[in-house]
């Protein structure tokens, strides 16, 4: 067996010389999958002027870091990255490749998977190793990657597998996996990607003329208290009581997808599978029914309070406290009571 093959690759995302959190989270997950499968964890970092980037990656358990440094790789455009990854994967034949479900990963992943004719599962909420028996073909597959994700607006949870094609590719959103350093002193092998020999002129036809990044416009992820509103809030105006409560408690306002789609709140506030995953100390769900696509993004909150006029709302089943009634009536009373007791 060629030892080079069958490893796990994490495509790292780099911004301003820093490896993105989502990539470190995937390295953490990749490390544990590699241990389970008894294979190596490899990482790929592409960019410009990123000398020494491997030092940020090795502590998360990478055995090999491939670095490609070239001015055509910054800022990110799809095609040069695709060409390099496709070339690398043809040689290295990884069994699993993971990318962040960021605008970069969700742009790049499908193009790579199409070029390699390998399957890609978007926005996974869990990755596990397991076997599969194809009864019709009478074939058993060992150690496949179970790519688990809610689908159909969150009404079902699907386990997706790629029995025959490699690599098994998956994207995962930031915050879904836990970031944990493997060892501060861990060192692996550094390999240089020969970017010049891979890239062709047609890879660089898309030009980024201007880039205007507004950092952390709204960042609910780091807030320890989140007050979220759902479609049941009824209107954008009614969200104002949530902002008021958030301000009083020192928290942030989140929203369900239905509320965002209805225009009640900005997309950056969306909690759930297609939004952000949060783990606050306190999560107050107001007028949220609690579809899995939402709860997937908040179920690890330390404490959940559900306020809903539907006593049968699914959210109540994962809530520590359930208040059944009108949000617009209960929130002002919470605010009043809080103010009174903290004077």
């Amino acid at each position: 067996m060629n030892l080079k093959m069958d490893n796990i690759f994490v495509i790292c995302e780099i911004e301003d010389g820093k490896v993105a959190d989502v990539s470190l989270e995937l390295l953490t997950k990749g490390r544990s999958l590699a241990n389970q499968l008894n294979c190596k964890l490899e990482a790929l970092a592409l960019g410009h002027n990123i000398k020494g980037i491997e030092e940020q990656i090795f502590p998360y358990g990478a055995d090999v870091v491939h670095v490609g440094d070239d001015k055509r790789l910054e800022p990110f455009t799809t095609m040069p990255f695709t060409s390099i990854i496709v070339e690398l994967f043809k040689n290295e034949k990884p069994q699993i490749a993971l990318l962040g479900a960021t605008t970069m990963g969700r742009d790049l992943g499908p193009r790579v998977s199409s070029a390699l004719q390998s399957g890609l599962t978007a926005d996974c909420t869990a990755l596990e190793i397991g076997d599969h028996e194809d009864k019709r073909a009478k074939k058993t597959y060992k150690n496949l990657l179970y790519q688990i994700r809610p689908a159909f607006g969150g009404n079902i949870v699907a386990t997706i597998i790629n029995p025959d094609c490699r690599p098994q590719m998956a994207t995962v959103r930031e915050g879904v996996m836990k970031k944990e350093m493997f060892s501060k002193t861990h060192k692996g092998q550094l390999k240089t990607v020969d970017v010049g020999s891979i890239l062709k002129p047609e890879d660089t036809v898309v030009k980024v003329i201007e880039r205007h990044i507004e950092k952390n416009r709204i960042n609910i992820k780091n807030s320890s208290i989140i007050i979220s509103g759902g479609y049941g809030m009824g209107s954008k105006e009614n969200f104002s009581v949530l902002y008021e409560l958030a301000e009083v408690l020192g928290g942030e306002v989140g929203a369900s997808r239905a509320a965002v789609d209805a225009g009640f709140a900005e997309h950056d506030r969306q909690v759930g599978q297609t939004g952000v995953t949060v783990r606050p100390k306190l999560y107050i769900a107001c007028g949220i029914s609690g579809q899995i696509q939402h709860t997937a993004g908040m179920e690890e909150s330390a404490m959940v309070i559900a306020i809903n006029n539907d006593p049968g709302a699914p959210i109540n089943k994962i809530a520590d406290y359930v208040l059944t009634g009108e949000v617009m009536d209960i929130i002002p009373r919470l605010i009043k009571s809080y103010k009174k007791n903290t004077k």
Binding site: P75, T77, T78, M79, T103, R106, D107, P110, R111, S113, S114, G119, L120, A122, D123, H132, A151, F152, N155, I156, A158, I160, N162, D164, C165, V205, K207, V208, I209, R211, H212, E214, K215, R217, I225, L249, R257, A258, H267, Q273, T274, L282, P314, N316, I318, A319, D320, Y321, V322, L323, T324, E326, D329, I330, R333, L334, S337, Y338, N341, T342
Partner: protein, 290 residues
């Protein structure tokens, strides 16, 4: 000189308005209970195409959709809003397609259309949320792609200029045509139906639909060819059958689980002042708030 634009659109179940009867007792999705709609971001894509049509005279907008026969609704909806024509790609051979097999079938249909400057699609469909078909179609056709688009500023002198909306920021990019572009929901909403166009196209149908109709309308297309919605089957496109449907799909669904919540010991708090006050005091006491 005008542009030739293809808009990719999908008919999807409206997963945003899932009612109580959306799930059957056995835990499977009750598709019949969900209304079928024009995928929201594909409407944003259509609007960008129509704006280019307004800007560059002689531009035509062709809708391409893949799905069952009833997906012809998507074509009609597009015609009502200003598209010039549309094609329904429909065949049992496409059943069970994952995103890759879907992209392959669509790319084969686009090759058959052959002449185009721009392909515009919604970023993702609300039934799967994968955002994969746009980039995969681009790769299959060997075209550059620009995803997460918000505005197509211009499409002239062989290139497009457009704005992308990314995580907390924007990017202006230029890309040579032909190209594949995907559009976000943050883009301008689609214009409403135009009453004159509704009048003009309300009897637009596929051959299959006409065959199931009373004879009154059958001959309409003889003198009004624009009322015919072309229906392409696998025999109308050049494709490798192995790359279509289930056999062309590297990903398989191993298991589908209906969502069951782990019941947790929850405490019910009455929505009266006294109990709310007790709750607040408790939260302050255990340092959750305050």
């Amino acid at each position: 000189m005008g542009l030739k634009i293809i808009v990719l659109a999908k008919q999807v179940p409206d997963t945003r308005n899932v009612g109580k009867d959306a799930m059957k007792a056995d835990g499977t999705v009750n598709r019949a209970a969900l209304p079928a709609i024009f995928n929201p971001e594909d409407l944003n894509a259509l609007e960008q195409a129509l704006r280019l049509k307004d800007k560059y005279s002689g531009t035509t907008v062709t809708l391409l959709t893949m799905g069952p026969g009833r997906a012809a609704d998507v074509i009609r909806e597009g015609l009502f809003r200003g598209a010039d024509d549309g094609i329904l790609l429909t065949d049992r051979a496409f059943a069970g397609s994952d995103t890759l097999a879907t992209s392959y079938a669509i790319s084969c249909a686009i090759r058959k259309i052959s002449k185009f400057d721009l392909i515009i699609a919604g970023r993702q469909a609300i039934d799967g949320d994968t955002a994969q078909v746009g980039p995969q179609v681009a790769e299959k056709l060997g075209l550059p792609q620009v995803t997460y688009g918000e505005v197509v500023y211009s499409a002239e002198k062989g290139k497009i200029s457009m704005k992308r909306r990314l995580e907390g920021g924007v990017e202006t990019v230029e890309c040579p045509m032909p190209a594949v572009v995907t559009i976000n929901s943050s883009a301008a909403p689609c214009r409403p139906r135009n009453a004159k166009l509704v009048q003009k196209y309300k009897h637009a149908q596929t051959v299959t639909e006409r065959q199931n109709q009373a004879e009154d309308y059958i001959d309409l297309t003889n003198d009004r060819p624009y009322l015919n919605i072309p229906e392409w089957s696998v025999n109308d496109i050049e494709s490798d059958l192995q790359m279509l449907g289930l056999s062309g799909s590297p990903t398989k669904v191993k298991q589908i689980e209906n969502v069951v919540f782990q019941a947790k010991e929850s405490r019910h708090v009455q929505a009266n002042d006294q109990e709310i006050e007790e709750l607040v005091k408790e939260l302050i006491a255990n340092h959750t708030i305050g």
